[in-house]
């Protein structure tokens, strides 16, 4: 028996040695990268990150990957000096670095630092590491060493973005004396999330308030006031579409773009949550669809992810700046108070102030970035929400998708019209600014600016 074990061990060793002698280059495909992005999304859903925080978790890892690729590929320009505070990453010393591989490793390592459930990430990572070790240990080790050095560099930069400090800043104080001020909403009555997100260091925009939108209509419950008309419009639309029931296209649209990471459900003492991806994650999903459809190569794919995720991250900072400036009350609170105490919105009201609509701002920014990469008439079938039980929807362009995402919030009964219209504008202007201030591609033919 002992002899047997020994023999087996020896055989394993021999096999192993045999393999490692046959060194073929490691191939990292675009699908490998997509899978890793999906993996991070999956962990974020589990860990329950709010939409603004989720946008940060997409941006930094993609930038890490992009910076590595830009080191080697002359088509792409480093973001160092272009996004706030980022300095050049360390240069690659060794010659046998596989850049796509290093980019993917850096992506995973920076992501690991940002999510909570590290274990799921490391299990996923280690299975890939094993595979790469088996294929070409030397190349893998060199690439990994470099990738981790870059990840460290990015992490040090990331740590200066005020995220940690904002964790201990004051919570939003509810003041029910002020009828226009946001209040926690049913059913969970959660605290307002991320009231200090405007203190997070932006990537490209000058400051959180650079794209400060015009204020919402003055609060008034007078029936002829603009504000009240907006409120009534939300109620009327909701009554109309819920009467139409399952046939309603508007309800389908609302649900498709819900993108609420934590919808809490209460049945007596039983509580649970249905969790979905965030608005940012939905647009990251669209990046994947576009890359596949466009047959983008590895570099172009990382470029697309990076540009879009930066636009999304800055959009959240800009939007959240306004949300806690105007601190506007949600339709649900007012409708229950003044119009119909039993009314419930089609979508669950998310736990932060109303103005402007986060999904509108983000969709405006993301669609502008994507249009610049893939063109204005890029038709696609959006199957991002399939895993969450929602159907595929088809769009003629990113802009059309963004328009629909924005208006979906009114159908959902969680936003007034102004938050949607102005929000979309806010996002598009911000997106345009990002495009104009980021120079990522040398060959301008590669963009549709």
């Amino acid at each position: 028996m002992t002899v047997m074990k020994y023999v087996l061990g020896l055989m394993a060793l021999m096999v192993f040695t045999a393999c490692s002698k046959q060194q073929s280059p490691i191939e990292v495909s675009t699908e490998d990268y997509h899978k890793s992005v999906d993996k991070v999304t999956e962990i974020m859903i589990h860990d329950i990150f709010s939409p603004p925080v989720a946008s940060r978790i997409y941006a930094y890892p993609n930038i890490a990957a992009y910076e590595i690729l830009a080191q080697q590929n002359n088509e792409y320009i480093s973001l160092a000096g272009q996004v706030e505070g980022l300095t050049s990453i360390p240069e690659a010393g060794a010659s046998d670095i596989n850049y796509p591989l290093a980019a993917l490793i850096a992506y995973m390592d920076v992501s690991r630092r940002l999510i909570f459930s590290e274990e799921s990430m490391t299990i996923y990572r280690d299975s890939l590491y094993q595979q790469w070790t088996n294929t070409n240990e030397t190349e893998f080790m060199a690439s990994k060493e470099y990738a981790l050095k870059v990840a460290e560099h990015i992490a040090a930069w990331m740590d200066g973005d005020n995220y940690k400090q904002t964790r201990t800043m004051p919570k939003f104080t509810v003041d029910i004396e002020d009828p226009s001020r946001w209040q926690p909403t049913p059913p969970a009555y959660m605290d307002g999330i991320e009231p200090h997100w405007n203190k997070i260091r932006p990537f490209v925009i000058d400051s959180a308030e650079q794209f400060r939108p015009t204020p919402p209509p003055p609060f008034s419950m007078a029936e002829d006031s603009d504000f009240y008309k907006e409120l009534k419009e939300v109620y009327d639309i909701s009554q109309k579409i819920t009467a139409e029931g399952d046939e309603s296209e508007e309800i389908a649209i609302a649900q498709f773009w819900d993108c609420n990471p934590y919808v809490s459900v209460t049945r007596g003492h039983l509580m649970f949550a249905t969790k979905k991806i965030t608005p940012g994650a939905h647009w990251i999903g669209i990046v994947k669809i576009a890359c596949r459809q466009n047959k983008s190569d590895f570099n172009h794919m990382v470029y697309a992810y990076t540009k879009t995720s930066i636009a999304i991250a800055d959009a959240f900072i800009s939007c959240w700046d306004e949300k806690y400036r105007s601190s506007l009350i949600r339709p649900e609170t007012l409708i229950n108070e003044h119009i119909d105490e039993n009314w419930k919105p089609v979508l669950q009201t998310p736990p932060f102030p109303e103005y402007t609509s986060g999904h509108s701002v983000v969709s405006g920014a993301a669609s502008t970035a994507l249009t610049s990469i893939f063109g204005a008439d890029f038709a696609f079938a959006d199957d991002t929400e399939l895993p969450y039980g929602l159907p595929v929807r088809n769009f003629d362009s990113f802009n059309q998708a963004a328009n629909e995402a924005a208006i979906s919030r009114m159908y959902g009964g969680i936003h007034y019209r102004k938050a949607v219209d102005i929000g979309l504008q806010q996002g598009r202007s911000l997106g345009q600014f990002v495009l104009e201030n980021l120079s990522m591609v040398k060959d301008e033919n590669l963009t549709f600016n």
Binding site: T173, P184, M271
Partner: protein, 1084 residues
């Protein structure tokens, strides 16, 4: 000890528990007794906890003699199984006579089962509740009328009691005193719980969910809910009903326990066929998830007390992995916006304060946490003369498990629920079990309860619900039956036997209420009163054997029994031998005067309505400390207002200064001939941005005009903002001028002027309690020396670092003719500073560990021995904080997450380890990295503070400790001091101020104590129950509303005497409430 031996010991203990019975109760097996009823519950895809919120509430149980053989019989109802009636054959043998009796029932889902004589023929009938009209449940509430021959006839329709609603239980009471028994039907809501809705939903009646009062009209019942003022809304999750004459006026009242956010209802019977619901007036707070309840006089004062159950786990692991209390802002919304009352997730024990209000003492009494609890039954099970408590509890699945809510449920059930609205067994199995042992608490003469769960009763893993009491073996002591889910019913057979004495009383009252429901008994032995009322429906979905039972320990003779019949007549029995069953019938009863049991003590204080023109209401600003410093143990922002009494206009009359909270101007009331008048003092009110916590009036500049020093706190402004600075107003020729005073940016708590250097002017001690945004850091307290009206800080490092100071007193404690200073504060011991040649030096004058959360100190000779003692107000022991010399309360203070701002982590000792008070979400809200460290709640739950934070991190933190939470006094023993705590009734809440005065004009000073405090998170609740106390000496303390004080549900900040034309009045200032003025009725 290695793992193996631990395992072995656990194994041995398990075996030991399994094989033996409890010390007080044995549990004969179903095979031996024939009592084999099992409430088997089968979860199905379309019927489970998701479809029906009360899927796990269980069946009912009723005990009573249905055939007149003096042996109590047992009826059990089931949810998915047929009901059963067991005839007691004696010797604990039971025969299933369901078939013959015809009482199996025809409804799909039965709940409560109760016995009562509905048709008034002297035989016990059975009423079984049903849930009908949801989940395909059919049927109706069934009424089995006893034919007197062990058969029954279902006649609910005939009596108008065949309700097809969502019934939980029903209770018998003669609310209109017309001699027959009426019925209160308890229904439960099935509202989806998606939003609170407003409290006034209860005013709109709903047939299915609303409770009903049904008047017995002789042969049929009429729904009189509306006219009687009984709520019946869609919001009433009725799970508990108790009947008692709570205000001792002869008319039965009701306490209704409602689950979830709906308030409990406290109905006082107006005596004219109507009720007045007045919960908010009589109760400071209640259980949140109210389940079963029970009533009994537990403190021998002749007034019925109440326990209401909730679901707070005792076990750390269950506690920290279950959904906890509300966020403070959510609670505020629910109270301020939706108009619900304060509710907290734990059991509540309400002591009836002479019918004036209820004092809630569950934490102090040790009965607050019994996990998912259904039934509580008071009785003197061990017959020692004190009421004990049995709690039946458990839930097959804990649906409020945080991992389930946040992580597991999603992956498992989201799609299924969304698509089919069905949930499968596999998903349900993901919820952890809540099969917690039942609890047994022994009452003690001192008032507390001792948890004897593991010893008096067997430690079980049953899901027990409805429970009923009866003397099943007719041996005089009390046995119980619990209806269990998926296990045979448990018989608890009492083994007290003849080791302690008892009396069992049955009544032979008159038809149609032959068993005498509503009869009261006052029992006296050796000057001790025990009081009981006969109501059979008690606990949860159950009714107990109709009898009154008293335990007497070794006492062999009862001096007297005062029987008060439901018709308000009474008779007296004297010299009764114990250990017998008496059947008492009316025998020349005389009218009973209920006034005779009311307190006759004269009120020393009489509140002056209108307060002679003092119309000051302190309004606290909306600042919530926990929004900024999320982990601090209590607020620091709510210690105002400042109040000072003194002549401010030189007319020889005392005036009043009231400081405002942030941005609210201070107010000055000037005394005029017949009262007070508010007049503007522009210089003072202009200083309004600051939050005033304390104030002192005195002639500081020696110009014979009084000046004002104002101490500023509030916790809101920070980092050297000028709004934190104390203010100093000098009066010059009738005008106030703001003058310079040494800068102090810390939150001031006390300003004590005194001429400490004996140079003829007033010097001032300034005690500071905290540093805004940096709680846990030591603020700087200091002494200011007066030089011609200007103040200079006296250099004194010891005094500067005194601690988190809350109060101080100047007193020559070493009798050397020079004033010394005693300082108290939070997380510190009282500190004595001896005046040594004009320098205050700390001296050690006691050798106990006395760190407390001290709030107040005053000088008083409490033992009448001629030397001065100190009385000291502390936090009290009616809170979740626990502290002792050996196991102090701990608070770690450090910048744990290295982000430049500090945190505090409060930890409690449980067993040998310390656990943080906050759960994972609370801690991670401040230290987000913990979410990386603990990705599941169950990983965090049950972890001690050392297991959560690494040793180095804890070592670098400053450790604050509290050894003593009780208020008491430091008794002077030849210049050295020893701390003695007050009794429990002075430990109900923090005592925030003392006032020494001869209030009753008997020539001796007394001390008046005031308190209560609300600046804590819902985790702690509200300390609202302290009614004030007058301390005459250490053995003579009068508490509560007997004094005439109105302190309940109010937080006292200052007590002052103010002289009105030579007559002293008591001025009381509250935080966030209206100031009160009292006259002293005994003043000569």
């Amino acid at each position: 000890m290695n793992k193996y031996s631990i395992g072995l010991i656990a194994f041995v203990i398990l075996i030991a528990c399994d094989s033996s019975d409890g010390g007080l109760f044995k549990n004969p097996s179903p095979e031996d007794t024939g009592l084999e009823f099992v409430n088997s519950l089968n979860e199905k895809e379309d019927l489970n906890i998701l479809d029906y919120l009360y899927f796990y509430n269980g069946g009912g149980v009723a005990i009573g003699d249905i055939n007149g053989d003096e042996l109590p019989d047992i009826y059990l109802s089931g949810n998915q199984v047929k009901n059963k009636l067991y005839l007691n054959k004696g010797n604990l043998q039971f025969e299933d006579i369901t078939e013959k009796a015809g009482v199996a029932g025809n409804s799909t889902w039965n709940t409560g089962a109760v016995m009562g004589d509905v048709n008034g023929d002297g035989w016990l009938d059975i009423y079984v509740c049903a849930v009908v009209g949801i989940n395909g449940f059919n049927g109706y509430n069934e009424l089995f009328i006893n034919n007197g021959d062990t058969t029954f006839s279902e006649r609910s329709a005939e009596f108008g009691l065949d309700f097809d609603t969502y019934s939980s239980s029903a209770a018998f009471l003669d609310y209109d005193l017309d001699g027959d028994l009426d019925l209160y039907l308890l229904n439960h809501a099935v509202h989806t719980q998606e939003s609170f809705g407003k409290a006034d939903l209860r005013f709109k009646r709903n047939f299915q969910t609303g409770d009903k009062l049904l008047r017995n009209e002789g042969g049929s019942f009429k729904d009189v809910s509306e006219e009687a003022g009984i709520y019946g809304g869609v919001n009433g999750y009725g799970l508990g009903v108790a009947v008692s004459d709570f205000n001792q006026d002869g008319f039965p009242d009701l306490y209704i326990g409602n689950d979830f956010h709906e308030d409990d209802y406290y109905y006082l019977n107006n005596g004219d066929g109507t009720f007045k619901e007045c919960l908010k007036e009589y109760f400071g707070h209640t259980t949140r998830f109210s389940m079963g309840n029970d009533v009994s006089d537990i403190n021998h004062d002749g007034w019925p007390d109440i326990i209401s159950l909730d679901m707070l786990p005792e076990d750390e692991k269950a506690l920290k992995s279950s959904e906890g209390d509300d966020d403070i802002q959510t609670q505020k919304l629910r109270v301020d916006l939706f108009n619900y009352h304060y509710q907290f997730t734990r059991n509540m024990l309400y002591l009836n304060a002479g019918g004036r209000h209820f004092t809630e003492t569950a934490l102090q009494s040790g009965v607050a946490a019994t996990d998912w609890s259904w039934s509580a039954l008071f009785a003197d099970y061990d017959q020692d003369g004190e009421q004990d408590i049995f709690v039946a509890n458990g839930i097959p699945k804990r649906p409020n498990d945080l991992d389930y809510i946040k992580f597991i449920s999603n992956e498992q059930i989201q799609k299924k629920i969304n698509n089919t609205r069905l949930v499968d067994q596999q998903a349900l199995d993901m919820m952890p079990s809540g099969a917690v042992n039942n609890y047994y608490f022994s009452g003690s003469p001192e008032g507390g309860f001792i948890n004897n769960s593991g010893s008096y009763i067997k430690r079980d893993t049953l899901i027990s619900g409805a429970t009923a009491i009866g003397d099943l073996d007719n041996d005089g002591d009390l046995d119980m039956v619990t209806n269990n889910i998926n296990s045979p019913v448990s018989l608890y057979i009492n083994k007290t036997d003849d080791s302690a004495n008892y009396l069992k009383l049955k009544f032979d009252y008159r038809l149609p209420n032959k068993i005498g429901v509503g009869t009261k008994v006052f029992s006296y032995h050796n000057g001790t009163l025990q009081y009981k009322e006969l109501y059979t429906v008690r606990g949860f979905q159950a009714s107990s054997q109709p009898m009154v039972h008293f335990g007497y320990g070794k006492v062999s003779k009862v001096d007297s029994l005062r029987i008060v019949w439901p018709d308000k007549t009474s008779q007296l029995l004297t010299d009764i031998q114990v250990n017998q069953t008496l059947t008492i019938s009316p025998d020349q009863p005389q009218p009973f005067n209920y006034e005779s049991i009311r307190s006759t003590g004269d009120r020393i204080f009489n509140k002056i309505e209108g307060a002679l023109g003092i119309d000051f209401t302190h309004t606290e600003d909306n600042y919530i400390d926990f929004n900024r410093q999320k982990l601090i143990p209590y607020k620091i922002s709510d210690r105002g207002p400042g109040t000072a009494v003194g002549d401010l206009n030189g007319d020889g009359k005392e005036d009043i200064y009231f400081g405002g909270s942030r941005s609210k101007p201070s107010q000055v009331y000037f005394q005029i001939s017949n009262g007070f008048e508010r007049r503007p003092v522009e210089e003072i009110s202009a200083d309004s941005i600051k939050e005033v916590v304390v104030a002192a009036i005195g002639d500081f500049d020696g110009n014979s005009e009084n000046d004002l020093i104002v101490g500023i706190g509030g916790g809101d402004f920070f980092d050297g903002m000028n709004q934190q600075l104390n203010s100093y107003f000098l009066q010059k020729q009738g005008r106030f001028v703001q003058s310079n005073i040494p800068e102090s940016f810390h939150n001031t708590a006390v300003i004590k002027p005194f001429d400490f250097d004996n140079d003829g002017d007033l010097d001032v001690f300034v005690g500071n309690q905290s540093i805004s945004n940096d709680f846990g850091n030591v603020p700087t307290s200091f002494l200011m020396e007066n030089r011609s009206g200007e103040f200079y800080v006296v250099d004194n490092n010891q005094l500067n670092k005194a601690g988190m100071v809350t109060d101080a007193v100047w007193e020559d404690f070493n009798r050397d003719g020079k004033p010394d200073l005693v300082v108290v504060g939070e997380w510190m011991a009282p500190k004595f500073f001896k005046n040594e040649k004009g320098k205050l030096k700390e001296v050690s004058l006691f050798d106990q560990e006395l760190n407390g959360l001290w709030q107040s100190i005053e000088v008083f000779d409490i033992d009448n021995d001629g030397d001065k003692d100190f009385i000291v107000g502390n936090w009290g022991n009616n809170s979740k904080f626990t502290a002792s010399e050996k196991q102090p309360l701990r608070m770690y203070y450090s910048d744990f997450d290295d982000n430049g701002s500090t945190e505090t982590i409060v930890a409690l000792a449980r067993g040998k380890k310390y656990y943080p008070i906050e759960g994972l979400d609370g801690l991670a809200g401040q230290m987000v990295d913990l979410k990386k460290q603990f990705t599941q709640y169950k990983d965090f739950a049950g972890k001690s503070i050392e297991e959560i934070f690494d040793r180095k991190m804890l070592a670098k933190a400053k450790l604050w400790e509290v050894h003593e939470l009780r208020s008491g006094y430091l008794i002077n023993q030849n210049g050295y001091f020893e701390f003695k705590p007050f009794s429990n009734d002075l430990q109900l809440a923090p005592i925030t101020d003392f006032l020494v005065f001869d209030f009753d004009s008997d020539g001796f000073d007394e001390v008046l104590a005031g308190g209560n405090y609300f600046g804590v998170k819902p985790y702690h609740g509200r300390f609202d129950s302290f009614a004030g106390a007058l301390i005459k000496n250490k053995d003579d303390i009068v508490t509560g509303g007997e004094l005439g004080l109105d302190f309940i549900q109010k937080s006292v900040r200052h007590l002052n005497i103010i002289s009105m034309n030579g007559r002293p009045c008591l001025l009381v200032t509250f935080n966030n409430d209206k100031a009160q003025l009292y006259e002293l009725t005994k003043h000569k």
